[in-house]
């Protein structure tokens, strides 16, 4: 993880920034109100903001959500609303279910539904491969037709 530099800007708020892989610095100015400013520093003058965007509270949250790779946010309503007939469900793996890989279960082949992510004690896994093992205590996030999801849930019972 890159080191975050925190600066207080009197009368404005705080700025937190860090260096990204290309050597540029990237930061967020948090105003005392809930407004945020996303800032990108110049390559040849690392003290100067080259480019910035003002965001209100909702826009900042939305951007944070889009950028997040390590946490899953449940939004069935939005997703199902986008494509008619598409459903998304969270299926907890019950106690007593023998740990099996997604490939062995052949969920996609047998139900048409796809496991797009899992969460569990070891943290969330986005887009797990066929070798990923599902075990009790995990939750599979499944996308498909409502029928497909019902069938997938049946496969995930002991």
């Amino acid at each position: 993880m890159a080191e975050i530099r925190k600066t207080t800007i009197p009368g404005v708020g705080t700025c937190r920034d860090f260096a990204i892989g290309t050597g540029r610095r990237l930061g967020v100015v948090q105003r005392v109100s809930s407004r945020r400013e996303l800032v990108v520093y110049s390559r040849d003058d690392p003290d100067a903001v080259e480019w910035s965007v003002d965001l209100d509270a909702d826009e900042s949250d939305l951007l944070a959500e889009l950028l997040a790779t390590t946490s899953l946010v449940q939004h069935e309503g939005t997703l199902a609303g986008l494509i008619e007939g598409l459903a998304l469900d969270w299926i907890p793996i019950p106690e007593g279910f023998p740990a099996t890989t997604i490939g062995e279960l052949a969920i996609r082949k047998r139900t048409g539904a796809t496991v797009v992510a899992t969460t569990g004690p070891e943290g969330p896994v986005p887009a797990p491969g066929p070798e990923h093992r599902l075990a009790p205590g995990d939750t599979a996030v499944v996308v498909g037709t409502p029928e497909g999801i019902t069938q997938a849930a049946a496969l995930l019972r002991p």
Partner: protein, 386 residues
């Protein structure tokens, strides 16, 4: 009755014309990327007794507006700050604040003495050259998208410290202007500074309580409560010889949280209106005929104190590890002088100091309120769109 009606018609017509003239100039300022403050001053100069146009509106009418304008300017400035962040800022940047004070107050004071003015008058001119315009600088930083720049905390810390120094400077100068025997002056200055200290402590301690007490969901009632509190404390401070401006500033600091967030947008348009009245009023009262005589000293003073501000900003930015380009930006941004310099000059004018002081201050602000923003914009090539 007819005369009264004619009178009010004249007032309305004249006010309307003046506001429209200010609006046109405000548009020009926006185009040029400079502050409208010097243009407002200019309108005042043109409308004054010795200027080309004369107003029938009584100057008491505009003066009342101007007084409210100063209170609102300072109150909204105070709103920007919360007690919690003032103390650490002050502690971390005290050396930069001290350098700023010495480098920029002394040239003005020195010129005052050279011109043969009294010590208080020299001290007033020192105040005029000392204080950068937080209004102009804040607008520049926002317009140029430099809020996140590394040198910005250095710039803003200097402005914060200058504003706090004013809280001591204004009552001190007010006490000296009131004059009298040395001992009496000393006592009244000490009392004034003590009152400021007490209000400051009270503001820090009771700020949240006061804010909660003033808060209401109704925008109308909130406007009336906050404005009422600001005017009342400003008036009481003036009565105690602390200067209304300082009282308003301290109430602004005390008000925080949701009260502050909701009151600010309500008061901003009022401030813009009354602050314009203040700048026009100051221009009105300046003796324009003296303007040609003060041009040379004003230019010299502007050149010297632009240089000392650049040096101050450069040094303050270097202290926090900013590179050479950022140091230059910090220095040049601080050049602009504006509303506070005029407030200080007006304090002197109202107390009847030497005539040249307000004229010189007006010329000085006219120069640096235009040069400062232009120089700031052109220190860097316009940012490339990528």
């Amino acid at each position: 009755m007819i005369f009264a009606a004619a009178g009010s018609a004249t007032v309305l017509i004249e006010l309307g014309l003046v506001l429209l003239a200010l609006a046109v100039l405000g548009r020009v300022a926006e185009r040029l990327g400079i502050s409208p403050v010097p243009l407002y001053l200019f309108v005042g100069l043109a409308l004054g007794d010795s200027g080309p146009f004369r107003l029938d509106v009584s100057s008491e009418f505009i003066e009342t507006g101007a007084t409210v304008g100063v209170v609102l300017l300072l109150f909204l400035l105070g709103l920007e700050y919360s007690p919690a962040e003032l103390v650490p800022t002050l502690r971390a940047n005290a050396p930069a604040g001290a350098v700023d004070l010495a480098a920029n107050l002394l040239p003005g004071a020195a010129l005052g003495l050279v011109l043969g003015w009294t010590l208080v008058e020299a001290l007033l001119l020192g105040g005029v050259t000392y204080i950068s315009s937080s209004g102009i600088v804040a607008k520049l930083l926002a317009d140029l998208g430099r809020t996140g720049n590394r040198e910005t905390p250095a710039i803003l810390s200097i402005l914060v410290i200058e504003d706090l120094v004013m809280a001591v400077y204004l009552p001190l100068v007010a006490g000296l202007l009131a004059g009298g025997a040395l001992l009496a002056t000393g006592v009244s200055v000490a009392v004034a500074v003590a009152i400021v200290a007490v209000i400051m402590v009270v503001a820090v301690r009771l700020g949240p309580t006061l804010s909660r007490w003033l808060f209401t969901r109704s925008a109308e009632v909130l406007l009336l409560s906050v404005l009422g509190a600001a005017l009342l404390v400003a008036g009481l401070a003036e009565e105690a010889q602390v200067s209304a401006a300082v009282g308003a500033f301290l109430v602004g600091i005390a008000v925080s949280g949701p009260t502050e967030e909701q009151a600010r947008p309500l008061l901003l348009p009022l401030r813009d209106l009354f602050a314009a009245a203040f700048f026009v009023f100051f221009g009105l009262e300046v003796d324009v005929a003296r303007l040609p005589d003060v041009v040379v000293p004003a230019l010299v003073l502007a050149a010297v104190t632009a240089g000392t501000k650049v040096a101050t900003g450069w040094w303050a930015a270097r202290r926090i590890g900013v590179g050479s380009r950022g140091r230059r930006r910090a220095g040049v941004t601080l050049i602009a002088r504006g509303e506070f310099s005029i407030i200080i000059a007006e304090l002197g004018r109202a107390a009847g100091v030497v005539d040249d002081l307000p004229v010189l201050a007006a010329a000085y602000v006219l120069i640096l309120a235009v040069v400062g923003p232009l120089a700031t914009r052109f220190t860097e090539p316009v940012r490339a769109e990528r």
